[in-house]
Structure formats: structure tokens, C-alpha cells
Symmetry: D2
Subunit: 184 residues, 4 copies
């Protein structure tokens, strides 16, 4: 019988839109939508971030915890925490956002590396029991995301054995394309 | 303890995109998305019909049955079955569509009257046990629709007692507005 | 020295949104935007008709005359004048629209044949001196259309010898594609 | 008889997408579209910058010179030239962009002050004779912009006495709204 892996925690050096740091452990019992983005990634700005914000505004009180993670893996001098703060302010982002922990000597930050993300935007869904249900690089349409969230909201009531994490290791691309920014 | 009402059946005088007439009874076990539209209702053409078609193309094989219902309550001389057939062809609609049964002396057709629909587009969700879960006049966004469908896809595995039919009897409007066409 | 052809007149069997029939001759001195459409052509409904209406609402008082022409060349039983009237009402079209004159034994109506249009939507620009400046099948973006109109609005003040009618005879396609409906 | 004012020159401390600094004087004979933006202004990112880029790609070879100006008047620590360079790269901006000259003790940079701009985005049109024809804060739709450009492209052939600079001094707002970011 197949097993679903537990989602690893995240490491953030700084938080916005939350009074205290958030940990995955304390969100047990909720569906967690973790979206990794960069403030200068066009696909994140036009699609990923507004989509995450929509989910937050509509479902935060219905059991879905939306967490943004600023996973800077390029243009480090441009996408500083100061710049991120201005970005979050100007784009009216109200959901909690953490800054993925930088790692000395590695352009890719800690959580991004731990999850093996291919680039930004990456959307991750974690069920109320803490299991990784989806990890998707690029755009996901609202209908598909909604169906996934709707199913996961029922998971604490039922034993669910579907929706394994997606493996997109075969469809890599380099740099920022329309769908997002890939690790080079 | 509250009870969910069973959804009433529909009455169609003609069908497109299906070899034989569809009945609600034969769709037991599936989530049914019934969308009522008129081919000259701008909100139906730009939003409701394409949304229903998206659900059909993505979820027909995963337990969701999409059924369109042409509920003509105005401009009867313009929105004939011949015109509907051309419309479905030109707009590449592939899901089954029935023509709501005309009633002598009543501008409103039979199923529209039975469900007490306020206008078009109207979206109805019926759970796998045949119970009416949602009846909504106007636009529903994809995220919200997805969450509802995702939840209902789990209903046959769990006893679900949420999501009562919505009552919008207070927010009527007349004629075609941006959101749709209301019964006058 | 090359010469620009005079635009031929149109023939309409019926008019909407105008108290009396319009002729090209009486519009001399204005930039004329003639757009040919069918009410069941998706590219016309989503792009061509709203674009023409935008031009009408913004520039009717500044020297641009917008004229719609319902050039039915397929589904004749569906796109009747009765259906067109309902369409114009529901889509809030306020610019004048004529019904292109049917020709016995020919599925293509008179004006469409005379101009050699390839399908719908077709956009035609005629300068204040009555000369044909543009005939384009398919979508034209607003920026490009605006520049053309802006130039033509200056024509009565200057001798202009650019912008010959476009010849797209090489890029035909059959049936309704995303861009429009072609004559088969 | 009324006179059109000459457009003042701009002052830039740095340039991108051009081998050498651009001056207004050297663009005499062309229609100049100057658009002032900030890389963290949502209305600039979603509307103003892509619109300027569209004009550049379609009309650079037909007599229109598009010049971007990064007029930072807020979040100075976030919108540095290093950040701007990454922004231009990721958003595939190919038209020339100058950095508006900072002024000691003033949050508003030199050119923005000289033109009396209200915020970002601001679009400015200068005719081939160097006269200021339009200065507009907020969104301008493509159709309207196209007509203005089309008219100005004819100016060197005709004496044009229309289109005075617009004065919007009455409709100020503070901070970033949907249409843009206003000087506080």
C-alpha cells in the first residue's frame, strides 16, 4: 500500500503580514497552500501571487492557510527584503509571507532546495495531516486548484488515497518563461 | 436535524451532443453540474457556457456530469432549436445540452419554472445522492466552483451536511445585466 | 502614380439603430468604419462587435461613422433579422447595423460578394473622400486600428498616399476559427 | 491664436536598452511617447509598461520613439537601478529606459518635477516639432492612444491645432490606486 510523504517544514529568515513566525507544525488540521514566488517573476506577479491572495481572502476562515514564501534564486541584489516589503504593500498582499532562508555559497535558498522546487511560481498543497499532496511548477488554473482544495478540505473526515505529489522533473526549462522562472 | 432536498428532474424537448436523452436519475453516483443558459444572454456566452465546457472537458471522466439546459424565457422567436444548434456548433460546445420544455401560455419553460430559477445563467450542483446542493443565479468564479465540486466529489465517501441550497430571492433584477438575464 | 480605389456602396434590406437607411454617399467627409459580422460568429461577438461599438461611442462625434453589416453566409435559418434584433438589444449595440442583402441562389449576400470579403469579422476603413483604405479579415488590435483612424481623420487636410487596401487572398481558412468565420 | 508649449527635456542619470543617452532634441522629427513609471507600481506593470512596449515594437520603425523614464518618488530603497535592470530583463522590455535624476532633499526626481507629473504611470506625447501634445496620469486605452499617435504622425505634413495638453489637476488621489500611484 502506497504512503504519502509528510511535507518538510520551511525555514524563513523574516516574516511579513504576521505577528509571529509561522511553522508548518502549528498549521496541522488545516489545508496549507504554500506558494513560492519571486517579486520580479512576471508569472508570479500576474498569476501566482493574486491567486494565492484570492484563496486567502475567500478561504482563510474555512480551514485553508495560505503562506507565501519569497524564494529568491536570481537577482539577489534586486529582490531584497526591503524591496519585498514595498512590493507586498503596493500589490495589497495580505496573506503571511516568509523570506526563504539564504544559504551561504548557494544561490538557491533553504526551503526551495529542501522541496526540490524547479523555479517560481511553485504551488504546494499540504493536507490537514501534514502530508504533501501537490507540488506544481508554473500555472495552475483556478478551477483545478479549487477542486484540489475542496477535496483536501474533506480529508480530515475521510481516508483519502489519491492525488500523489506531481513529478514534473521531465519538463524543465531555463530562465523566465511565460509560465514562470526556472532554476537555471 | 436539517434535511437536504432532492433535486427535481428536468424536462427537455430535444437534446444536442448526446445520442439519447439524459435523465437526472441515470446520473446518480455522479456530481451533476446543471447550467441553465440562453444563447443570446451575454453573461452566458462569455462566462457560463465556457465555464461549464471547461468543467466538462476536465472532469467528465472524474465523476462530474455537465448538462446544459437552454431555458428560453424571452426572444422566443430568435432562440429556436435551429439557432441553438448553430450556436453550439460555432462555439464548440461538446457537453450535452437539452432544450427546456416549452409550456403553453407561459413564457418560462418547465424546468426553469420547477426550479424557480431567477434568470440565466443559473448554475445548479447536485450531489451523487441526487440532493440539491447549490442553485446560483449569475456568475460564480472558477475557484469557488472548483472548491464546491471538489467537496461534492467526496460526498459519496462521507456524510456531508453542509452547503445548503442558496436562496437569492432578495436580489432580483430585471432584464440582462452584466451578470446575466433575469426573469422580468 | 498609384491610385486608391473608391469604396463601393453597400446594399441592405433592413436597418437597426437608425431612423433611415444609411448610404456610403451621404457619409462623405467622414472616416467610415464598416464592420461585417455574423451574430453567431464567436470572434465577432467577443472582439469585432465590441470594438466597433467602442469606436462608435468614442469617435462618432469626432468624424468617424461606424456602420455594422450583418453578412450572413451560413446558418441562414438561425441568423434571421428577428434573431439579429434580439442580439443587438441584448448586447447593447447602439451603432447603426444593416442586414446585407440576400441574393437568390447565393449563400453569400450582395455587399459581402461585392467587396470580396473572405469571412467575418471583416473590418473596412473608408477615408473622407470615399476611398477604400483598409479591408482586413480577422482581428485587428485596438492600437493598430486607432493609428489608422487617427491618420485618416487627418486626410481631408492633407494628400495622403499610404495605406493601400490589404490583400489577404493568400491566408484563407475554412469555417470558424478563433479569429473569425471564413467563407468555405 | 493659441500656442502649444515646447516639451521640456528630461534628465536621466543612467540608461538601459540604448548604447548612448537619449535627448529629446535628437528625436525631433519623430512622435515621442514618453512614459513615466515605477517598477513597483501595479498599474505600470500590468498596463503602462506593456502598452509602451507594444507601441515600440509596432511603430519604432514608423516614426514613433518610445522612451521609458523610471521616476521613483517612493520606496527609493527598493527601486534602485540594480532592481530596475532585473525588472527590465525579466519583463522583456526592449525600449530605451532612463532613470529620472534624483534631486538631493526631494523625493521627486528632476524630470517628474519639471513636468509636474502627478504620479505613475504618466504618458506624454510630443509631436515631431517638439511640442507637448498630451500629458495624462493613469490608464489610457489602446484605441485612444492609437488615434492620438495616428494624428501626430501626420503633423509634420499639416498644421495641426488640436489636442492641447490635458490638465487633470482636479482629479488627484493619494497612493497607489488601480489606475496608478499618485504623489502624496
Amino acid at each position: 500500500m502506497r504512503e504519502l510523504a509528510m511535507a518538510p517544514g520551511w525555514q524563513a529568515s523574516q516574516w511579513f503580514n504576521t505577528e509571529q513566525p509561522l511553522s508548518l507544525a502549528q498549521l496541522r488540521g488545516k489545508v496549507v497552500l504554500l506558494h513560492a514566488f519571486q517579486m520580479l517573476c512576471p508569472g508570479c506577479v500576474s498569476h501566482g501571487v493574486p491567486q494565492a491572495e484570492r484563496v486567502h481572502r475567500q478561504y482563510a476562515t474555512e480551514g485553508v492557510a495560505v503562506v507565501g514564501l519569497h524564494t529568491v534564486f536570481e537577482h539577489h541584489g534586486a529582490m531584497t527584503p526591503v524591496a519585498l516589503e514595498a512590493f507586498l504593500h503596493e500589490y495589497r498582499v495580505t496573506h503571511p509571507v516568509g523570506v526563504d532562508m539564504a544559504v551561504a555559497g548557494d544561490p538557491i535558498p533553504a526551503t526551495m532546495r529542501r522541496y526540490g522546487m524547479q523555479g517560481t511560481p511553485t504551488l504546494i498543497l499540504i493536507d490537514p495531516a501534514g502530508r504533501l499532496r501537490l507540488q506544481e511548477f508554473g500555472r495552475i488554473d483556478d478551477l483545478h486548484l479549487g477542486v484540489l482544495i475542496g477535496r483536501l478540505l474533506m480529508v480530515d473526515r475521510v481516508l483519502l488515497e489519491t492525488s500523489q505529489p506531481t513529478d514534473h522533473s521531465g519538463d524543465r526549462s531555463d530562465g523566465c518563461e511565460e509560465q514562470g522562472c526556472a532554476v537555471r
